[in-house]
C-alpha cells in the first residue's frame, strides 16, 4: 500500500514538474513577444498581461503543492535537528497534519469564493474568473494530497525503525 502511494506520488510530482516548466516557458514567451511587439511593431498583444498572470498564478499555486511533496519549503530546522529520530518524526507528522488542515480550509474557502464570483469575466480576455480562481482550490487540493503521502511515508519509515 505504502509503496503504491510512493509510486503514485512520484508520477504525480513528475507530471506537475513538467507542467510547471511548460507553464513558466509559456509565461516567458508571452512577455518576450509583448516587448518585441511594442518596440518592433509599435503594437500590443491583447490579453497578454492577463494570460501571463494566469500562468504565473498556476505556477505559484501548484509549485507550492509540489514543494510540500518534496519537503522543500523554507523552514527553520533548528529544533528538529536536535531531536532524536522518533520525536522528529512526530514533529514532522504534526507539521503535515497542520499544513493539511490549513490547505483544506483554503480549499473549501476557495470553492465558496468561486461559487460567488467565478462567473464574472476578466476585463480584457473575457475569460470567466473561475479559470484563474480555480488555481487556489486545485493547488490546495494537491497540497492536502501531498500532506497525506508525507504522513504515509513517515508512518512507513517509523514501521521500518
Amino acid at each position: 500500500m505504502a509503496m503504491t502511494v510512493a509510486g503514485l506520488e512520484r508520477r504525480l510530482t513528475a507530471l506537475l514538474d513538467a507542467f510547471l516548466g511548460a507553464t513558466l516557458l509559456a509565461m516567458l514567451l508571452v512577455i518576450v513577444v509583448l516587448v518585441v511587439m511594442r518596440y518592433g511593431f509599435q503594437s500590443g498583444l491583447v490579453g497578454a498581461n492577463e494570460t501571463a498572470t494566469m500562468a504565473f498564478v498556476y505556477v505559484s499555486s501548484l509549485g507550492a503543492a509540489v514543494a510540500i511533496g518534496r519537503d522543500e519549503h523554507v523552514r527553520v530546522n533548528f529544533l528538529a535537528a536536535r531531536l532524536g529520530a522518533r520525536p522528529r518524526a512526530h514533529l514532522q507528522s504534526l507539521a503535515a497534519v497542520l499544513v493539511g488542515v490549513l490547505n483544506l480550509t483554503l480549499l473549501f474557502g476557495g470553492m465558496a469564493w468561486i461559487a460567488e464570483t467565478g462567473h464574472t469575466p476578466m476585463p480584457v480576455t473575457q475569460v470567466p474568473r473561475v479559470v484563474l480562481q480555480a488555481s487556489i482550490p486545485i493547488g490546495c487540493g494537491l497540497a492536502v494530497l501531498f500532506c497525506v503521502t508525507r504522513l504515509v511515508a513517515l508512518r512507513r519509515d517509523g514501521a521500518r525503525r
Binding site: 509565461m27 505556477v59 505559484s60 507550492a64 514543494a67 527553520v76 507539521a95 469564493w113 484563474l132
Partner: protein, 424 residues
Amino acid sequence: MTVLLLVSLLVLIALGIPVAYSLGLSVLLYVGLTDAHLALSMPVRLMAGFNSYALMSLPLFILMGQLMNASKITARLIDFSMLLAGRFRGGLGLVNVLASMLFGGISGSSASDTASIGSVLIPEMERRGYRKEVAAGITVASSTMGMVIPPSIPMVLYGVVAQQSIGRLFLGGVLPGIMVGTLQMVLVRILAGHAPVETGAFSARVAIRRTARSLPVLLMPLVVVGAVVLGIATATESAALGVLYAALAGFLLTRALTFSGLWNGLRSSALTSSKIMIVIALSQAYTWVLALERVPESIASYVVELGLGATGTLLLVNLFVLVAGTVIDVSPAILLLTPVFAPALESLGVSPILFGVLLVTGLAVGACTPPVGTCLNVCAAIAGLDIARIFRGAAPFLMANAATLVIVTIFPRIALWLPELLIP
C-alpha cells in the same frame, strides 16, 4: 490577540513548520478566535499575493541566474578578475571578491554566487596555500553582494511589499554593494596578504583577449538594469529579456547550454519561485491581520516615542535585522519586517529606498550566519567543511558588511544619490 498572533507564529516556526504555512496557521488561529467568517476571505488574500505583475520577475530572475550558471560563465568572470587583481599579494582572495561583485550583477542571488564561484575558486585557493576555511569564508562573505548589487531578487520583493520603484531600489544598491566589495578586498589584502602572488604581468594582447571574451557577460547587468532605469521595460520585462540574453549567451557564445539544461532550469526556477510566492501570499494574509490589530501603528508610535531620531532608530533597526537574519531566511524576513518597520521609519523621515537597501544588506549577512544561512549550507556542501568552521572563516570579512551598514545609515546619500540622479 496581538501577542497570540506573534507567539503562535514563533512557536510554529520553531516547531519546524514551513514559514509560509506558519504564517497561514497563525492567521487561521486568529480568525478562528475572533470571527470565523474571515477564514472565507483567506483564499482571496492568497490570490492577491500571487496575482502581481511585478512579482512575475521572480521566476525569470531566478531562471536568468540558473542559465548563466549552466552556461559556465564563471570561468570567464574569474579570468577577467584575475586580470585586474591577480598580480597582487592575496590575489586569489581579491579575485574571489571581485568575481562575486561581477557575478552579483548577473545572477541576483547569493546562493548561486556561492555555488558557482566557490566550486571553482575554493579548491584553487586551497591548492595555492590558503587555509580551506579562509577560502570558504571569503567565498561566502563576498557572495552577500549578490543580493545588494542589481539586479537583486530581494530588492524586487521589498519593492513589491513596500510599493517602491524597483528601478530606484536597484540603483540604491549599486554604491553600497561596491562599498561592501571594496572593504572586503581591503580586509583580504590585510588578512591574506602573506599569500603568494598568483600571476605575473599580462601582455596587452592577453588582456584585450580576456576582456573581449568577458564583455558580453559583463554587459548583461547593464542591459537588464538599464532597461528598468531608462523606463524601456518593467522589471518583469527586463527579467524576461535577461533570460533571453542568458539563453543566447549560453547557446551561441559559450556553447555550454543545452536544451535539457534549459528545461531543467525552467522546472527548477518554477519550483524555487513558488516556494517564495507561497510565503509572499500567506504573509499578505498575516500583515492584513496585523493591520486589523493596528500593530504597525503601535510600533510606529513606540519608535517615535523612543526619541532616538532617524539615524539612531535606523541603527537599532539594523541591529534587529542582523539578529533576525540569523534565524529567518531572507525572503520571509523581508516580508515580515517591511510592513512592521517601514511605516515607523517613514514617520521619522527615513526614505523607504534607504530602508530597503539597508534591510537587504543586513539580511544578506544572515545568509552567512548559522543556523539558517543559505550560503553557508551551499558552501558546506561544496567545501566539505562544517558550517561553524566556514562561519569562523567568513566572520572577519563580514565586518565589511557591518561597516557598510553603519556608514550608509550615517551617510544615506551613498544609497540615495544614484536613484535621485537617474530617476528623479
